[in-house]
């Protein structure tokens, strides 16, 4: 019958693989119940378990100095490539100590901690890389912008001087050079916008200045009127269904996007053509549609919103305007798409989340 009576201590030991030690004087320990197999090879067979393990010795000291009946936990530690954890209580001069083999728990927690550290190291490295690229970009932009400005000034000076003479061909060459420099400047401006938008993706936005898309579109139409006139293109703004047309987006960015899209439409317009801007609600979004009567987006040219994807007719843009627009619009949770109209011409449709 004796086999049926379970000794509670040996039962606990079997369940958690621990050594249970007690000490009446707080110094000499004994295991009433024998040791688990791993115990003697690691902690020895003496009555002082701290003898082989400075860590355990420190823990026992700590318990000895602790308050009565306070349960102390050692935390995980390593001995000879195995892991342990101890729990102890003090009662008077008596100490009860349980040393548990915790290999499995260590393995599990170690993996989690390790991957979180690797993650963090990668994040730090990427951030460093990004910072470096930003600095590099700033240097490149500076180097690009400076000579262009100087060249432009000189060319303008020459042009003025030439006005007295009649060297027409020379003058035409100077004009071409000026145009080229202006294009370079535009390209630099676009690059800075694009990289600015990318770098800002993580930036937190304040929504308190939710702009009205109708108002912004009106401002753009006014600002671009003279550019339209110089190409004899008519520019019109139409508000299809008035209502709330304020959007959850940074007005500076939205304006830049509109300048890009309307500028694009103007450039692709035939002479005496028309460019239409219409603004209206579209469910939870405010929609802005900019249409022109140009030759439309070319299928072969690929996605017009990809960087440097231009159609075959090089109209003097950098190929970055629409790319920037997409980045910016998506940053605010909006969408942008391009389509060709059945009767010819193209349209760009912009949807930005409405500000409630």
């Amino acid at each position: 019958m004796s086999g049926e009576v379970e000794d509670p201590k040996s039962n606990v030991r079997r369940l958690i693989d621990a050594a249970i030690l007690s000490s009446d004087d707080g110094i000499h320990f004994h295991a009433e119940d024998g040791f688990p197999d791993w115990y003697p090879s690691i902690f020895g067979e003496s009555s002082d378990p701290g003898k082989q393990s400075p860590f355990l010795a420190g823990f026992i000291d700590l318990v000895r100095d602790s308050d009565e009946s306070e349960r102390k936990k050692s935390g995980l530690w390593e001995e000879q490539s195995r892991f342990f954890e101890a729990v102890a209580v003090k009662q008077g001069s008596r100490i009860l100590l349980m040393v548990e083999c915790a290999d499995e728990r260590h393995h599990f927690e170690q993996q989690i901690l390790h991957s979180s550290h690797i993650h963090e190291l990668n994040r730090e490295r990427l951030q460093k890389e990004l910072e470096l690229k930003k600095v590099l970009l700033e240097c490149v932009m500076h180097d690009l912008a400076n000579p262009a400005a100087v060249l432009l000034m000189n060319l303008q000076h020459i042009e003025k001087k030439l006005e007295s003479g009649d060297e027409r061909s020379l003058r035409a060459a100077v004009e071409r050079a000026i145009n080229q420099v202006n294009r370079q400047k535009q390209l630099i401006q676009s690059i800075s916008e694009v990289f600015g938008a990318e770098a800002n993706e993580a930036r937190e936005m304040k929504w308190d200045e939710a702009p009205d898309l109708v108002v912004l579109a009106g401002e753009i139409a006014d600002e671009m009127e003279s550019a339209a006139e110089s190409r004899a293109v008519s520019l019109s703004l139409e508000v299809s269904d008035p209502g709330v047309t304020r959007v959850k987006a940074d007005p500076v960015y939205v304006k830049r996007v509109l300048v890009n899209i309307v500028g694009n439409a103007l450039r692709h317009s035939p002479e005496r053509g028309s460019v239409g801007i219409s603004v209206g609600r579209n469910g939870g979004f405010v929609r802005c549609r900019v249409s022109d009567q140009g030759s439309g987006f070319e299928e072969e040219a690929g996605d017009p919103f990809k960087a440097f994807n231009q159609g075959s007719s090089n109209t003097g843009s950098s190929g970055l305007g629409l790319y920037f627009s997409k980045l910016a619009v998506e940053m605010f949770g909006g969408t942008i798409l391009a389509e060709n109209e059945k009767g010819g011409g193209a349209a760009v449709i912009l949807n930005l989340p409405v500000a409630s």
């Binding site: 393990s53 400075p54 860590f55 420190g58 000291d61 700590l62 935390g75 995980l76 530690w77 390593e78 892991f83 260590h106 927690e109 170690q110 901690l113 390790h114 979180s116 550290h117 690797i118 963090e120 190291l121 730090e124």
Partner: protein
Amino acid sequence: MPEFKKKVCLIGSFAVGKTSLIRRFVSGVFSDEYLTTLGVKVDQKTVTLEGREVLLLVWDLAGSDQFAKVQQAYLAGSSGFLFVADGTRKSTLDDVVEEAEGILKLFPVVSISFLINKVDLAEEWEVTEERISELKERYPVRLTSALTGDEVEETFLSLAREMVEVSR
């Protein structure tokens, strides 16, 4: 039996090279591989100073990170601290200086040194000369490498010497 027994704790952010420095000092080896330490490991090494043996108990504590600071209970009984930073990640120096200041309030009379580790990685080095000389005005500082062994032995020996002198 060694004449002295001294406890030394290595403190510092994760992956700065605490485990590697100890392995270099105790076993003379180095590994590229990174395996985060979870829990505590105590290594022992006896050094001889002018014919007298000193047993060093070197405590490798899991690197502190944004989730966990080193448990104070582990620091009890220490005669020395080595505060370790990674010279290629300058934030680890700021973090360990802050942690050290807290610890030194609790243990004002211990021997310490700051180690700016991975000095072999010159190309990725981030800690400036000014930062180092500013720190040197307040604390002992060494530039170490667990990879090459630079200043590792020297660090432990001079700490041992200092700890023994203090205890006399």
